[in-house]
Amino acid sequence: MKAAIIKDFLSCRLYLRTYAIFALVFMGLGFISANPFYASGIFMILPVMCLVSTFALDETSKWERLALCSSLNRKDLVSSKYIFGSILIFIGILLNFISILLVNKDFIDALITSSTFGFISIFYLCFMAPLMFKFGAEKSRIYMMLILVIPAGLILGISSLGFIDFNAIVTHVGLLTAIVVVLFIVLLIGSYFLSIKIVSKKDY
């Protein structure tokens, strides 16, 4: 599994450098415009884009076929992608936290905001990974757009229709955080086992 994770980092080297430049530029713009959340979207989306890139590279080179002939098994193929994605998301959260902290100097605000964006990245990982294992990176791009747009649209729609008072919900921060954390753990575990089920039946 370690070999697969190393392979993903080495493959992504070029992309990571480009994304790092993007991130620095947005961080700088956020600092200049005193907007702490300027770069938050970037730190949320870049880990997922990197992960999609590694799936695409593996698909083109048919890496899985060689990997399964070696000491790696199907579970390792799945675990390595989730660990790689999680490492990138964690780095994204950290950089987002630093970026926000530099501007508004509020530790709690920086922590909550960077974690929230991190959770959104994990949300995408949970849905994207099984789709990419099932359909491949190219076919999954359409679903990626839907996963980006549908939840955002639903939240905006529900909010504007007034069915749920988000302001009231936000006052119960502690309870909300606990529910969200538990929900995402369940989502991540469910996504992982679904990916394993998909890969265990797939022919490479």
Binding site: K2, A3, I6, K7, L10, S11, R13, L14, L57, D58, T60, S61, K62, W63, E64, R65, L66, A67, L68, C69, S70, S71, L72, N73, K201, D203, Y204
Partner: protein, 279 residues
Amino acid sequence: MLVCENVRKEFTGFTLDNISINIPEGSIMGLIGENGAGKSTLISCILGSMIKTSGTVKIFNKNSETLTRLEKEDIGVVLSDFAFNGLLNCKDINTIMKAMYTKWDETYYMNFCNEHNLTMNKKIKDFSKGMQMKLSIIVALAHHPKLLILDEATSGLDPVARDELLDIFFDFVKEGDHSILISSHILSDLEKICDTITFISKGKVKFSETKDDLEYKYCIIKCDETVFSTIDKKDMIGVRKNPYGIEVCMLRKACPEGMKSDNASMEDIMVFASKGVNL
């Protein structure tokens, strides 16, 4: 070393139909067949990258599905596609393989790369197909496996490189407990190194014979329909009709008396076997 018993894989429109092969220790088996015959499918089923419908594969006298990670390290594989993406270089591959195999021999890998002009920092996508294939082969050999499985490994290589690699394969098998399964369209390579040849056509094994048997067991005769009708189909490998008569590839011992026969090369046997025994 490697035993397949009734390996079956079903697809829509194609079935790998109960393939059984046996590769003992210290031997090389060549796998030949026309395009789409099922050679790569069989290799994928052996290695576990495709899930077979039924049948068993035993490697090192153990069911392949129960091999431990350490035991799987004793299998070296070269596939027809170079399985590393083009953004990596030879140094990266060394780093990845060191993490994958406990028996990875970095010195052997580096020396081979240097000898064959595989520049360490050059991206894989900038290598020619032949150089990518050489790299695939060294990746398979550098963790010192006992079983080598090669799927079209010598295609894309120049004759000098192919000859060098065939020597490497010979040396590999000299250690009595090593074996090779090699699939190739280059029959001259297989004739040079293989002990046994297995011919697969349309998902079925047409024959699996030693090289010596193939050389002496079969012949080609040219006859008319009258003579053809007297030959038992069980003694035939295949027939081919042309404007001048019928060519039959068959067992030498069953050749009609007084009939002139020609030697059948491996290519002839393969071509005739793919045509079948019906006119």
